[in-house]
Symmetry: C2
Subunit: 212 residues, 2 copies
Amino acid sequence: MISVLVVDDHPLFRVGLCDAINTQPDLTVVADVDTAESAMDYATHHQVDVVLMDLRMTGMGGAAGTAAITALDNPPKVIVFTTFSTDADITAALDAGARGYILKDALPDDVFAAIRQVASGGAVLAPVIADRVINRDKGARNNDLSIRELDVLELLAVGLSNRAIAQRLHLSEATVKTHLAHIYKKLDVENRTAAVIAANTTGIIRHPDQPN
Amino acid sequence: MISVLVVDDHPLFRVGLCDAINTQPDLTVVADVDTAESAMDYATHHQVDVVLMDLRMTGMGGAAGTAAITALDNPPKVIVFTTFSTDADITAALDAGARGYILKDALPDDVFAAIRQVASGGAVLAPVIADRVINRDKGARNNDLSIRELDVLELLAVGLSNRAIAQRLHLSEATVKTHLAHIYKKLDVENRTAAVIAANTTGIIRHPDQPN
DNA sequence: AGGGGCATCGTCCGAACGGATGAGTCGCCG
DNA sequence: CGGCGACTCATCCGTTCGGACGATGCCCCT
């Protein structure tokens, strides 16, 4: 019997998920919580095989929660289970030690299979995610912005002018322009607006979370 | 007994939702489907009291589906049940004839209550939504962009230059600039990048749907 | 008949942006 | 040590934006 801990701040979804899992003879939900904090709390005091963790939650968030849980002694396997699949989310989750990344539009059977797979020591990535991860380590290396370029891009993405960016980062405007030129090349765009869009859609930078 | 039709393309969520509803003695899910098309199909051939409709789905989408269903003879009441709450989504849903708009992070009891409320002829808006709707009719009237301004904003939001926008819309650049100036005023921003951000976060324009 | 919003186009000008190029410092890696 | 990349700054130049006018025509509403 594989024990599962469900972490999701959508009560309705959580309940449905728990019920679905409990229909499986070899799976059982031992607890369901709505924050990463409580998940960590539970995992430190109880034995759990697999944690199904939502990413975007109020509080510490799923990525931090995953990291905290995988740092425990004899840690449970964590599967990130979320609606979102930006690069930032994926890397954060995998870096945090997640052994699986599946999307909420998956079929129930896929979820069950993922739990079994991970419980037995394997790893599971949703097809879309798998592509991303593979491509990331191939050609997308040049897509990597330097730290400073990311700083600039972040400020760019909130609508600041070159001058304003320069002031915020204590740079000259010339330097900002240089960084921008590099950013445009790396993102393969022509202007700042397109760069902001690219940054948002590819998930290079973090959204301010759900728009309202 | 109130009969409910559940429309959602996330199988896991749909199943959980159906189970939850069926726990209520006075509610029963008579069918659950994964597209607006099948929902319309079902509603034309069967008697249903309330339809729980997801907004963002593959195919015709929830707003169009809502409009189609409420156009039937003796139509069921439609509650839009979604994760998203941008202005575009809300107005689309309400214009389409939805009698309720609740978010997927609602508590199960809230959902049950909403179904009962709508079935008995009432209307239900999630608190966040209610605020939006009310504010929209108050001060936000100047926030209303004209059709043409929206056209421009949409192209702006994919990173096009003034000239490119002009060509796409068969306008002179001068006209585009005039529209932009109006857009900036109405959105209370200083430049195009900020306008794009504002458009995205306030949901004035439609996202190209889920980023990947 | 008049007013107002919308859409269209024009001009002018200063500010901002984007591209090209060069160049200096620093740290890392072989 | 020598090369390379990141970071910094500068100058020059052409293009693009954004603001501030004005102007016309249309349609709707009072």
